[in-house]
């Protein structure tokens, strides 16, 4: 099972470029864990939610922590110069989750999505 630590409230930066490239937004996956590592629900004061997805491995889930990168084709010291466009390429779209999951997240700040397919519907590329 993969366990997702997700940002609940968007961070805002007055600099529009930094706001896009640097700030975590609502639904962004901050970190993923393997089964059983998230032992308690998020604190009421926390800015995080936890979503558990049985059937998905941590290795599969890691892809959702990738940033959106732009490659302008520039090379330096043999390495491409990459620019971060967004802090996260994917987000959980809560509107695509079931009422039960949304209700659990609102009340317990933690929910389990019963199938990988259901999770994949909600994990959208921005």
């Amino acid at each position: 099972m993969a366990e997702f630590l997700i940002k609940k409230i968007s961070a805002i930066n007055p600099d529009p470029i930094k706001n896009e490239s640097g700030c975590y937004k609502r639904g962004d996956v901050v970190q993923v864990y393997k089964d059983g590592e998230c032992k308690e629900p998020p604190s009421p004061n926390s800015n995080m939610l936890i979503v558990k997805v049985p059937g998905m491995t941590k290795e599969e889930a890691l892809k959702y922590t990738e940033s959106e990168i732009r490659d302008d084709g520039l090379i330096e010291e043999g390495q491409p110069i990459l620019t971060t466009v967004r802090r996260r390429k994917y987000k959980f779209d809560f509107s695509l989750l079931t009422l039960k999951v949304n209700s659990d997240l609102a009340i317990k700040r933690e929910a389990t999505i019963t199938t990988v397919e259901q999770a994949m519907v909600a994990l959208k590329m921005k």
Binding site: C38, K39, E40, S46, M48, E110
Partner: protein, 315 residues
């Protein structure tokens, strides 16, 4: 001052307000979680205190904040959670097979961390200051690589990047200035391809040691550089550095780069930087006071205290 805690014995989802490992007020479980949870426009400084003997295995990028000289980010370890000048598997540490700690913001202070890039398959940085990462201060840290093919600690554009009392070993570039300007004072580079590498920008090097590197110093350093020491013929200052000199460490086979009691290379050959115009400080990587004449490198040799037990003979 905002204070929050990372404890690698905690579990994700805490509010980070204490160093507890359970409950609503539990610490963040990783530095990455703390960064994501606290990202904000700062109206007061924030300190993030890192603890825990379990390794922190998630790369950290500090970005999306608004900081200033008064409203800075300080990330550090407490004395109890800090290495004692030598890599310590029982103290807080970051170990990642990736770019490990990347700073995109100004006014960040990092003190007493251990970071390790666990692979040399790609050119990952144990620490990278990017353009905009200005006025950052890095002190008393140990950076560890996994071979000389790749890896580095690098300033990639930060203005006035300051490093002191740091150790960097087993990288392609121990300490590098790619662009921007930096001050490297009393740092020790060991077993790297290049110990100190000025690739571009301005790099001021004072009181640094490089040993067992393929090349000790590479590039043209600022003329303010002085009192560096290399075991090859390279230097940062052609007139004020010591070359072709071997330093005796406490136990270099086991990565203990404290100066040995019988060292005659680095001990007492440093310049006193306690009143330096750009980066004054007066302690070493162990937090011990430096005494004149200063030693070169991250460690100031201090003789172990000898306990005298009075013996009274009554006749």
């Amino acid at each position: 001052m905002i204070t929050c805690y990372v404890n690698t014995a905690s579990t994700p989802g805490g509010d980070g307000t204490t160093n507890a490992t359970t409950g609503d007020n539990r610490a963040y479980a990783s530095l990455n979680e703390a960064e994501a949870a606290r990202q904000q426009v700062l109206s007061e400084p924030i300190e993030i205190i890192c603890e825990g003997a379990t390794v922190d295995t998630t790369a950290v990028t500090i970005d999306g904040w608004t900081t200033s000289a008064a409203n800075y980010i300080k990330i550090y370890t407490t004395t109890a959670a800090r290495h004692d000048g030598k890599w310590d598997e029982g103290k807080y540490r970051l170990e990642v097979n990736d770019n490990l700690l990347r700073l995109y913001e100004a006014y960040i202070k990092i003190d007493g961390l251990q970071t390790r890039v666990t692979s040399s398959a790609a050119d990952y940085s144990a620490l990278e200051l990017s353009i905009g990462a200005d006025y950052n201060e890095i002190s008393n840290c140990i950076f560890r690589g996994n071979g000389t093919t790749n890896g580095k600690v690098t300033n990639n554009g930060g203005i006035d990047a300051k490093f002191w009392n740091c150790i960097s070993y087993n990288f392609n570039s121990g300490f590098r200035n790619h662009s921007g300007n930096s001050y490297f004072y009393n740092c020790t580079a060991y077993g790297n391809n290049i110990g100190f590498y000025r690739l571009g920008g301005t790099m001021v090097a004072k009181n640094n040691i490089t040993q067992s590197c393929t090349t000790g110093f590479s590039g043209t350093f600022s003329s303010d550089s002085t009192n560096n020491l290399s075991d090859d013929a390279t230097y940062a200052s052609s007139t004020a550095d010591i070359v072709n000199t071997h330093v005796l460490f406490a136990d270099e086979d086991n990565d203990d780069f404290h100066l040995a009691s019988n060292d005659a290379g680095a001990r007492n050959y440093g310049i006193d930087l306690s009143a330096d115009d750009n980066l004054p400080f007066s302690t070493d990587i162990d937090g011990q006071a430096r005494t004149s004449p200063w030693d070169i490198g991250a460690d100031e040799y201090v003789a172990a205290e000898v306990e005298f037990i009075p013996r009274i003979i009554i006749t």
